[in-house]
Amino acid sequence: MKNGRDALWAISVLTIALISVPIALILIYGFAIYHDAAGFGDTVIKAIALTLFTSSVSVAIVFLVFTPLSYELARKTHRGLEAIADIPASIPHPIVGIALLILGSPFTPTGRFLESIGFDFFDTIQGMIIALSFVSAPIYIRSMQSAIFSRNEYPELLAQSLGASRLRTLYSVVLPAMSRQAIASALTSMSRAMSEFGSIAIIAYYVTQYPFSGVSAASVLIYQYYGYFGPGVAITASALMILFSLVILLTGRIMGFGQRGGRMENGN
């Protein structure tokens, strides 16, 4: 059947427009109308660099730490675990920041332990990375869980019947066969991390470590600019941040990492 321009197509275009019009307006106003020099300044570039760096590290951590959980949830029913895995996505993100603040506070046993091993959350790059990992993990877990669940289970059963553990099956059979979906899930998770504001505004409003000493994440900086300068500079900085985000996401799509639409393909 050929793809026709029917009612479903029209609704899809309309809904995409609902999403893209505000973004397009920011890009147009940010680059063509306001384009305030402060919006393109060194501070903004550093903030975007910090955001990209911490988001990249956090998605790497999420991939390493949460892929086994995604596999477990895809193949076994664990309603309790699923509910817990969704918590970071279902609570206001300032609460995540406060939770991490308590976790790392020297007034709590966990904080004293972390301090004893030289791990400090507050206003540090590692604190920001932990916060971003925490809030973006549910996106990755759900995306990977869905991708694994939709795959044919027979190769995994064969692997285990040949003697492989479930963990070895995951890393030797499942992931190599779905690397594109895994990268797509990671990119989605990274997008979520790049857009985070609530938790890092509390745990790391700015960081105090080289090479980002005194730098805030882009979302925090844009909020600051909005308060100090009004919408003009904030819109320009926002446009720059959106441009970087789009370049990363589109690069992933163009390289074929995005999940394909269209007709259902063989699970293998």
Partner: protein
């Protein structure tokens, strides 16, 4: 080489009531929807929640995990798409001094190609899957209509059964091709979830 099973299982409208004992290679025939695949998957350990027991070579494997069961189930989807042919056959073991063994199995099963298994034809994949199972020497190999996608299926089946037997593996195969019954020491027929007859043995 002997399997003894007494299984009772219900899924949807299908009730599996199978009691049989097979000493050598066995064939199971029967119409679509009669429960052949479900029965094999229960034997393989893919399905829980049935009543009864499965005894393989005198050992109760009913509740054993897949890794310790010694049973490998094969159908047209049991292959590792990202692995190359040689690695697939050897996986998950170190080949060590068993290279000649792999070469011999490939030769006997008509595997003269390389490359990623996911890029092969359906029939080529099925041959690699059977070679993988045989190389790993499980006690029981369950082949669910595997030969239906292989050109020269009956000849391939005969080679597979000979290879498996020489390496101590019993084979139960499901097929719609009754001509393949000549390779089985026992032939069963399933209807409506029940093993209703021992046609030969």
């Amino acid at each position: 080489m002997a399997i003894e099973a007494d299984i009772s299982y219900r899924i949807g409208d299908l009730s599996i009531n199978a009691a049989f004992r097979a000493k050598g290679n066995a064939m199971i025939a029967g119409p679509n929807g009669s429960g052949k695949t479900t029965l094999l998957r229960i034997l393989a350990g893919h399905i829980d929640g049935f009543r009864g027991s499965i005894i393989l070579d005198g050992k109760d494997i009913t509740d054993l995990p897949l890794q310790r069961r010694g049973v490998v189930y094969l159908n047209q989807d049991t292959y590792f798409p990202s692995m190359k042919v040689h690695d697939h056959i050897a996986w998950p073991h170190e080949v060590g001094d068993r290279e000649e063994e792999i070469r011999q199995i490939c030769s006997d099963l008509g595997i003269d190609y390389t490359g990623r298994v996911g890029n092969l034809s359906v029939g080529q994949r099925a041959r690699v899957a059977v070679a993988t199972a045989i190389f790993n020497r499980p006690r029981l190999i369950l082949m669910d209509e595997v030969t239906s996608v292989i050109s020269e299926g009956p000849a391939f089946l005969e080679s597979s059964l000979d290879l498996a037997a020489s390496r101590g593996s019993q084979v139960i195969y499901v097929t719609q091709n009754l001509g393949e019954a000549v390779h089985a020491s026992e032939v069963y027929r399933m209807e409506h979830g029940s093993v209703v007859s021992l046609v030969q043995g």
